[in-house]
Symmetry: D2
Subunit: 319 residues, 4 copies
């Protein structure tokens, strides 16, 4: 297993892989070797207290040679006065460069993208990489969906693992829950009684909003997010490493059935050793399908802005 | 945590509670103290290799005083030439006697019944116990449902935790899967593609049959069942011990909405520290509802045969 | 991973491997295929409630082909009126036969012997097998040592993982604790304060006796032992499967340094993917060395009695 | 469970408690409420992917009321141009203030100090707190010892859990391994064969140096340490929460037997629900005892410099 980028998110991902014992060996790569060393050694120090694992810094991409899964967290993060587009431009080059290196040293590995904007960057990675598309996926709306299920479980007083509700679309402001297919156990969501004084339309609106704003609320308070996304990535990586065939809402090239063109965004997929084992056909209401088209349009526009020839600033590490 | 009955099922339950680290302390009670000692000590020997727990034999019911959950496995099992009704008669007395003792020493504990026929005996326990009905539940169709999900997961090549399909009714020949509400992830079961050459009607019939016959197939081969039911019970006990609010198909007094009278059988419930936290309203197709009525009728007849005054043979330990 | 023999111990070992998630796949072989099926299916039923594993019966030895570790539990167990020697004779043939089959189908697997008398049978297996000696080991005094550490931990009120005391020698009446090298943490055992009124000579005698008699106490009460030995075996198997290089007191051909000839008995070894990675040189007091010689002499005599040409009864399954 | 201080170390500790499932509930307190919120929410986002836990920010000390264990990480960390003494002065006031608040809201909780210099600050905490001394401990040389065992295990090719070697003294430059009592399994360290070309004097010197410099090596590379110390603290907290009676080298008031006066430094203690359940008497060689005296003298001098009346700078958050 390898993590590219030893910034806040990259190191948090490596740490989560160790604490959750997802794998036996984690390699951390960063252009700044000393930083990769510092993080690898700090995390390696947790190992003697816990389990038998190995955490090592990589001196170069060649050290990622034997890896089955590579998590990419490198790239700039939003700074003051920077527009989202600057971010995209800079990171697109960074990601394309990294993917090129990975194609060289581990052409059969599953690549999990975390760098934002994750959906567009996953599309870039798929287009520039020589490896088959199913080996590339972004962390999509996995965390958004987890947040939604958590809140629904609390509200309905039922274990959140029994709550099956998906958040799909852009990992960003245009994501939305697919309420029409949500169930608890095998029971339709709306057959569930709500606490007195609450109604489903109100609850749905509230939960959709809270889920969408959560990341920003954290960003405003601590300046970045790291632990939550790291656990989400660790969960995806485990599904790949153990060939779990588990369903996640990863950033994936939308299936033709959705009728939204060749855009990459969060949709339900079966994740296993092959990366995206396959997409699952998610039925949506007319309203939901409109929201999906809206989300796709936003991502398409961002992608087109890129290829329209933006001059990109030189990338640097981040999360 | 306590287990009443140190037969094959009782000892397997205690062993599973230890290996799965469900609790810190297991007390094993049996009328035959030496047997309780033998099993408790044998299981206690696994502890030093694993975790910090305590496993002790109980010299009498008084030793079950502090227990939050009591699993009841005592009773006779099917012997040659014995009819099912003999079994019911003998075990009904045994269970009523045990429940009386438990009412005395741990009136607030959740009682989980495992002895067969579990649905009718759970009804007896509810009627004869002084404790509230929600504190009494049978292991119902938990294992049947787990078997079904496992096979569905294999067939559809998806993690079985993503398969949400319930088996309800009698823990026995009249149980049935509620196909109409089955989902995979949040996707309707029938929207799932099947392997070439298979059709849903055929698959459903096959899986229902295999699930129903599984216990008997094992019984024919090893003479009894123990490990499977023990793991199912350990899973239920964990939900109670950790107040998980997880959904299980336990033996429970059917809610009025089902319109099948005061019969006890496997139906979806939220299980937590209160035992049966609440029942969940499961929508069924007309055909499924007919199957539920059929299952209820069988159990009602068995129950009535009991109260009609069968002379019961003296009970003895079993699983 | 495979288990040969689907009797009480064999099935308990397979069940422990599953509940403790030691491996992904367990194959159960027994000459009685129906029994192997019954146990495999019963244990497989626990899987959907727990984890992603596979448990299957083997139709023949060929199905053990890909296994890295094979646990051998087949053989007769003590019946009424049978002498220990009858047992040895019958089981020696059984084990030699099984080892021959295993040499054919999985010549590189680590073979862990559990059938009693385990030390002599491990010697037979080493002598008759074509595989290198380090790939064959018996479960030795692993369980005895665990029992001792548990009791010492309780007495000294310290976590038993911090107690380092070994029981060595025959897995039987002549085993003994090596008190001279026992430590708690890095502190000599005897520097530890005892509860008021207890003295070390008295405590040592008592603990040695209790440890030695434990198995018999259980046997007298439940007629056999299964859960304790199963957990011990699962722990050894995990060390092999994960190449842990952990120290266990397995049945092994004693190193020359002990000066007791080519006898097999419980001595400290580093266990890893290679089976017995190496033996560790355990310093003993003069008295302890005498006890080791005594234990070795008993085992040598039993071994010689065998080769002296006992007519062996036809073996059958057992634990 | 509560963590005071939401800086890098504090948030890493809270995150480790969640990922390692040490407890059911973590409260994070910081003078900067928004920061506590940001970290608590980010970590809480990992929960839906993992386990049933609760992570909440505390609006004030009153929210720490029900906590059994409080980890204190607040305080300044070394900045450019700052001397170690400035750090001590500032943090001493901060810690005394926090301990006063904790005495008010959770007088029976075990307080685990992490802020550096941890030994002197633990002494301050013990002296200023109204709670019994056994309820206060510093994280001492726990991490140093873990690092040493890890390296010894690698060198000797044996599981590091079988390596029993302690690092004691100041958590800093004067710490040292107590080689005279080190064992592997129950075997004296020096009876262990070393790889060809290595000698014990050379190996010991090397390992002692590497262990001592490890923290600084990380600090030079990533600017601080967080993950390693967080895992060490989580391990200690687990021992308290589960009353494990496990041995750790925590910062504790040295027992009279050591003859080094009332100084606080890393020494072996049994840790359980009572915090420091008791100290263990560690035998040392003459040379080792001299090193202990040296370490104690350094810490005594630092402590005296404080009480000599240093004017302290205003404290602020850090790790």
């Amino acid at each position: 297993m390898a993590v590219v980028g030893a910034g806040r998110v990259g190191s948090a991902v490596a740490n989560a892989l160790v604490l959750l014992r997802v794998c036996d060996r984690v390699v951390i790569y960063d252009r700044d070797l000393a930083l990769a060393e510092g993080e690898a050694w700090d995390i390696a120090d947790t190992v003697p207290l816990l389990s038998e694992m190995e955490v090592t810094p990589a001196a170069g991409y060649a050290d990622l040679g034997g890896c089955d899964v590579v998590v990419v967290t490198a790239g700039v993060t939003l700074g003051p006065g920077q527009s989202r587009l600057d971010l995209l431009g800079a990171n697109a080059d960074t990601i394309a460069g990294i993917v090129g290196e990975l194609d060289r040293v581990c052409p059969g590995a599953v690549v999990v993208l975390v760098t934002n904007p994750v959906d567009v960057l996953t599309r870039i990675a798929i287009e520039t990489s020589a490896r088959p598309a199913h080996l590339i996926l972004g962390c999509g709306t996995v965390l958004d969906g987890a947040r939604l299920r958590q809140r629904l479980g609390e509200l309905l007083d039922v274990e959140r693992e029994s709550v099956h509700a998906y958040v799909v679309g852009e990992h960003g402001d245009s994501s939305f829950p697919v309420w029409s297919s949500a169930t608890v156990g095998a029971i339709r969501l709306e057959q569930f009684g709500l606490p007195e004084g609450r109604s489903w339309p109100q609850v749905k609106a509230e939960l959709a909003a809270v889920t969408r704003q959560r990341g920003m609320s954290i960003h405003e308070r601590k300046g970045f997010t790291s632990y939550g996304v790291a656990a989400a990535v660790a969960r995806i990586v485990r599904a790949v490493a153990r060939d779990e065939k588990r369903i996640f809402m990863v950033s994936v090239l939308a299936a033709k059935e959705y009728g939204i063109g060749p855009v990459v965004l969060g949709l339900p997929c079966v994740i296993g050793a092959a990366g995206v084992d396959r997409q699952l056909p998610l039925a949506m209401s007319a309203e939901e399908h409109q929201m999906l088209q809206h989300s796709a349009a936003i991502l398409e526009r961002a992608y087109q802005s890129l290829t329209a020839g933006s001059e990109t600033a030189p990338g640097r590490r981040g999360g």
